[in-house]
């Protein structure tokens, strides 16, 4: 609930900038930091050490979301020759990375469903929503197509259907929210994975499981759960046997949610809105004192200021 208090503050600040919101700012801004996601939100733990690159998840996603036919069949491993990213035709892709270990690792890419999503906070038509189940969903019917969400996403996930003339929209993984998650079922990729690379469960449980795995096999895993804290925490989290930068993760994102970088500007908005009018009206009066005195002595003939 805290996040809503914070949002309300920002709303007030940006839209109106009343003094009342200015007063309520300090306590809400402090509270905002403690938002760690919905308590019972679901998540997925991705164990890179288990993945063999069978691309079943890609195939399952394509079917579940009714995406267009791929250029190559999903059992074609030649796609691993290049590093792919999510696109308007693929909400998830698996890439292969040569690592410092003697074997390559595979990494699945899809929306990480942040606790405080940058796409959501950057959207000026509120097209995104973080559901209590953990999914970051998107409403294509209000999207204007400014693509700020794509700029804001630290993971380079949202794609855009540039090819569409009439109805180009953002395309990204929505955690199978409408077809599965809403009904308590795991997303299609999780269900299709043969080796349980993807474990579906409550996010808070998955964090415990992840650390338990690291504890029980300290030689196998690097001691880090990617996504537990990154950019404020994500619903999808990762375990790896090599340092995460070796498998294409950005390890410099920091643990602050993206919105925290923008807050510095948002806090000055109500100040400018409230202080500027008085300040500049004051300047005007000072600068024009002589003129107005002169004018007062003469009769007020014209209303020129």
């Amino acid at each position: 609930m805290k996040v809503f208090n914070r949002r309300n503050f920002l709303k007030g600040g940006v839209a109106g900038g009343a003094a009342a919101t200015l007063l309520s700012k300090s306590k809400d801004a402090g509270a905002a930091k403690s938002f760690g996601g919905y308590p019972n939100s679901m998540g997925v733990l991705v164990d890179l050490t288990r993945c063999v690159g069978c691309r079943s998840c890609e195939a399952a996603c394509n079917k579940e979301q009714g995406l267009p036919a791929p250029d190559l069949p999903f059992d074609d491993t030649s796609v691993f020759e290049e590093k792919r990213r999510t696109s308007e035709g693929a909400y998830t892709v698996v890439n292969k990375y040569d690592t410092s270990k003697d074997h390559p690792l595979f990494r699945k890419i899809q929306c990480n469903h942040c606790n405080e999503p940058a796409c959501l906070t950057s959207c000026f038509v509120n097209a995104y929503k973080k559901t209590p189940e953990g999914a970051v969903t998107y409403d294509p019917t209000v999207c204007v197509g400014c693509r700020t969400c794509m700029v804001a996403c630290p993971f380079y996930v949202p794609a855009y259907s540039y090819s569409s003339v009439i109805n180009p929209v953002v395309k990204k993984c929505v955690f199978c929210y409408d077809t599965r998650l809403k009904f308590g079922r795991p997303p299609a990729c999780v269900e299709s994975c043969p080796k349980e690379v993807l474990s579906f469960g409550k996010r808070k449980d998955l964090i415990k499981i992840a650390h338990q795995r690291i504890r029980s096999k300290p030689d196998l895993y690097v001691n880090h759960v990617y996504g537990e804290k990154e950019v404020g925490g994500t619903s999808w989290m990762y375990l790896s046997s090599v340092p995460f930068d070796e498998v294409g993760f950005d390890t410099h994102l920091g643990n602050q949610p993206i919105i925290s970088y923008v807050k510095e500007f948002l806090t000055i908005v109500p100040m400018v809105l409230t202080i500027w009018p008085a300040l500049f009206a004051g300047f005007h009066l000072l600068a024009n004192r002589k003129d107005s005195k002169k004018n007062e002595k003469q009769s007020i003939t014209n209303g020129e200021g």
Binding site: V14, A15, N126, V151, A152
Partner: protein, 419 residues
């Protein structure tokens, strides 16, 4: 037109024809008091119009193609670079260069520096058109431009920086239209309308300052959504909005110097003595303001690098690029402006203003495109994207010229004796 003026034809600058009581009709005013044939003849004589014709012949079909075949036809459809030249140039460069409106509005109306009055309307027009065409660029770039009003009325996301930009640009556009209504009212002969606007000019100007401070800053704040993508030397969470705001001050002033120079050189027939005679003095005055803003900007740029402790980046290739931008766009102008102000050299100030404008354009393109995704690959815009940008910019110039030729911007309207 220059030729005609030399031949003794005076451009329309009052409601009545010559000494008679006959009023100019709107059509005559539009044709600048010429017959249609005369007007066409002077248009064809102008080689610049031929250049424009070529640009439109190539560009307009491509703009139509963008709406007929989608963004994929004119851009590389990049997911990594969602914003290309349309916004990189059209929004992030055009808007700071249009800050002249609120700067001169503040100077003249709020601070009471009536000595800047001869150039105030040009500054306001420069602001209005810059913003208007920024919106045109935005409309080309938006996936679904017909939903432009959604953030206003349909689905509001008030916590987003772009929400603020959208609202402020929209309201500021109306403010600027209102600020220019007096010029239009004079031209059309509607004194009551002019009086009405004049009565609220202070309110409008202060609204302009607020809106400008916030949305100029907001354009910078937009990039604070991408802390990992913009190169650290161009990124600063606490200062980026301030960089954009401060630099918009000298960007607007220098753009005004450049535009006024072009006006003086290319449409001297339209400028009256009040404008022409005061221009050198005003140019140096504007240069003074720009220099102060440049120094402020330089200082907070350095503070930002120190605050984030980005010194080690200066030794990299990106660092040299950054220093080049600062050298050409900031430090060199400070030196040249100071020299020209000391020695009363308006010509040098004009040249310096041009460098500064190019420098600020480089800064915005650096932030939005060139150093964006510095850890990935570099995106080279599609050639059609470049053509569209040139075409719309040409459209901007044509509109600009059209209005300058007619409305009392560069000259004062001669009030009728009996109105």
């Amino acid at each position: 037109m220059r030729t005609l003026a030399a031949n003794g034809k005076t451009p329309i600058n009052t409601l009545e024809k010559g000494d008679s009581k006959l009023m100019w009709t709107v059509k005559e005013k539009l044709l600048l008091g010429m017959t249609t044939q005369e007007y066409m003849a002077q248009a064809v004589r102008n080689p610049f119009n031929w250049l424009l014709a070529v640009i439109f012949a190539v560009g307009l079909p491509i703009i139509i193609g963008r709406f007929a075949f989608g963004l994929g036809y004119v851009t590389h459809s990049s997911y990594d670079y969602p914003w290309g030249l349309f916004l990189g140039w059209g929004l992030f460069v055009m808007v700071p260069l249009s800050a002249s409106g609120f700067m001169l509005g503040t100077t003249v109306e709020v601070f009471g520096r009536k000595d800047f009055k001869p150039i105030e309307r040009l500054a306001l027009l420069n602001g209005l058109l810059g913003y208007f065409f920024a919106v045109v660029f935005l409309q080309v770039d938006l996936g679904q431009p017909w939903r432009l009003i959604y953030p206003m009325f349909v689905s509001l996301g008030p916590a987003a920086v772009l929400f603020l930009v959208a609202w402020h640009v929209a309201t500021y556009l109306s403010v600027q239209v209102a600020e220019l209504v007096p010029a239009f009212a004079e031209w059309m002969g509607m004194p009551k309308l002019k009086k009405f606007i004049k009565s609220m000019i202070i309110g409008l100007t202060i609204a302009g300052i607020i809106l400008s401070t916030l949305h100029q800053g907001a354009l910078g704040a937009l990039f604070t959504y991408a802390p990992g993508k913009v190169h650290p030397l161009w990124f600063s969470a606490p200062f980026l909005w301030f960089h954009f705001f401060t630099s918009s001050i000298f960007a607007g002033l220098c753009m005004l110097i450049v535009v006024s120079t072009i006006c003086k050189k290319s449409m001297a027939w339209r400028c009256d003595a009040n404008f022409t005679d005061n221009l050198d003095r005003l140019t140096l005055g504007l240069a003074k303001g720009a220099t102060l803003a440049l120094i402020t900007y330089l200082v907070i740029k350095i503070i930002a690098v120190a605050h984030d402790s980005d010194w080690h980046y200066l030794a990299t290739g990106w660092g040299q690029w950054f220093m080049l931008e600062m050298l050409i766009g900031v430090i060199l102008p400070i030196i040249l402006f100071t020299y020209s102000i000391r020695n009363n050299l308006a010509g040098l100030a004009r040249f310096t203003a041009l460098i500064t404008v190019l420098g600020i354009a480089l800064n915005r393109l650096n932030t939005a495109l060139i150093t964006f995704n510095w850890k990935l690959y570099q995106e080279i815009p599609h050639w059609r994207e470049v053509v569209i940008v040139i075409t719309i910019y040409a459209l901007y110039i044509v509109t600009y010229r059209f209005i300058l030729y007619r409305l009392p911007i560069l000259y004062s309207w001669k009030e009728s004796k009996d109105v």
